[in-house]
């Protein structure tokens, strides 16, 4: 099956967006570093479930996310801790704390697995949001590919910046030398770097939906975009403000 053909779409979708979404769907279906293809597809399904989860909706309105117990709307593949992490990142991310991440680690969701899970959540959520923004149906999720996770962890990842270890600014070397050039990075780029493939997948979608990292310093209109940089940043800023994004 070819995904993201956008055949019934009333507007023309840029080819690089179609391509990026297709490539991501292929990677979503395959085993990752810490999750199988079946589990990655299950994470994706839970992103969609979270958007119609009554417990998430009620919890979002509560003074504290720990105010009351409840049951997530779930497909039943993921364990309780992973399930809650998917729903929290999707619907109530602003109240995630170091303690929440530490408690998850103590309950068996390793930092590495959490980072990969978050990578899947944000990519699937973002691709779904693109379709929703244009009034389109969501793309069917891909068929999982059998296989085992690689358990690859970059040796240079260290704790100290956020809730999980990350590759330091000067640590994009060796197998990770493609992640950013020299020390030109930022915390948002480093955020998923404990699982370098999660960052690579994030960057590919980022380049198509927004801009390639290499073009970030160009504050004028990019040749292959219909909106100029000010228009882009107005959209980005309004979305971020409504999401209460301090970063």
């Amino acid at each position: 099956m070819t995904y993201f053909e956008y055949k019934d779409c009333p507007v023309t979708i840029r080819e690089d967006i179609k391509q990026a979404h297709r490539q991501y769907w292929d990677k979503l279906a395959a085993p990752g570093c810490w999750w199988t293809g079946i589990e990655r597809a299950a994470i994706a399904q839970e992103v969609r479930n979270a958007n119609t989860c009554q417990y998430c909706a009620d919890r979002k309105q509560s003074l504290s996310p720990y105010q009351f117990e409840g049951q997530h709307h779930s497909s039943g593949v993921l364990g309780k801790i992973a399930l809650d992490a998917v729903h929290r990142i999707t619907t109530d991310q602003a109240r995630i704390t170091q303690d929440y991440v530490n408690n998850n680690t103590n309950s068996g969701l390793s930092n590495e697995a959490y980072v990969e899970l978050a990578g899947v959540v944000v990519n699937v959520f973002s691709i779904d949001e693109f379709n929703r923004a244009l009034g389109l149906d969501l793309e069917p999720l891909p068929e999982p590919v059998p296989g085992e996770p690689s358990h690859y962890r970059p040796a240079q990842a260290v704790s100290g910046t956020g809730f999980v270890p990350m590759i330091p600014a000067d640590g994009a070397t060796g197998a990770e030398s493609d992640l950013w050039s020299k020390e030109r990075t930022g915390n948002v780029l480093r955020a998923l770097s404990l699982v370098p493939d999660a960052l690579r997948e994030w960057l590919e979608v980022f380049a198509a939906q927004y801009l390639p990292i290499a073009g970030m310093t160009n504050m004028f209109k990019h040749e292959d975009r219909a909106i100029n940089r000010m228009q882009m940043e107005l959209v980005a800023s309004r979305v971020s403000a409504l999401n209460q994004c301090f970063y």
């Binding site: 507007v11 023309t12 979708i13 840029r14 967006i17 990142i89 999707t90 991310q93 602003a94 109240r95 995630i96 704390t97 170091q98 980072v115 978050a118 944000v122 990519n123 959520f125 973002s126 949001e129 693109f130 929703r132 923004a133 244009l134 009034g135 910046t161 956020g162 809730f163 999980v164 930022g186 915390n187 948002v188 955020a191 998923l192 994030w202 939906q209 927004y210 504050m219 975009r225 219909a226 909106i227 100029n228 940089r229 000010m230 228009q231 882009m232 940043e233 107005l234 959209v235 980005a236 800023s237 309004r238 979305v239 971020s240 409504l242 999401n243 209460q244 994004c245 301090f246 970063y247």
Partner: protein
Amino acid sequence: MLRASALTNKTQIDLAGVNGDESAAGTGVEFGTQLMKFAESVATRDESALKAARDELLQVAGEAVLVDAAGVAANFQRMVRIADSMGIPVDDMEEGMGKQVREELNLERFPSAHNSLSMG
């Protein structure tokens, strides 16, 4: 980035558009009001407002603008989720323009500001 791009383009903008002021959003930014309303309806997940904003943006600016705006909005719907779920602080809290914009827009009211302010 909005202010940086406006300065580079030598264009007067009004940052109040970021907080939802329609006329401010249109200051210096072509289709700014329609883009702001579209972004707002994506982020708030208000489907009827989204349809209206999408139709209006399509009508005044065309389909290429609509598709690019959808891409940017979708991308920034996930940026906050990465930043908050990983707990990353702002890279340089003392950098002049960023500090000024955060103060102007009163961003310290957001819960996730704690991830940056606690580093200071």
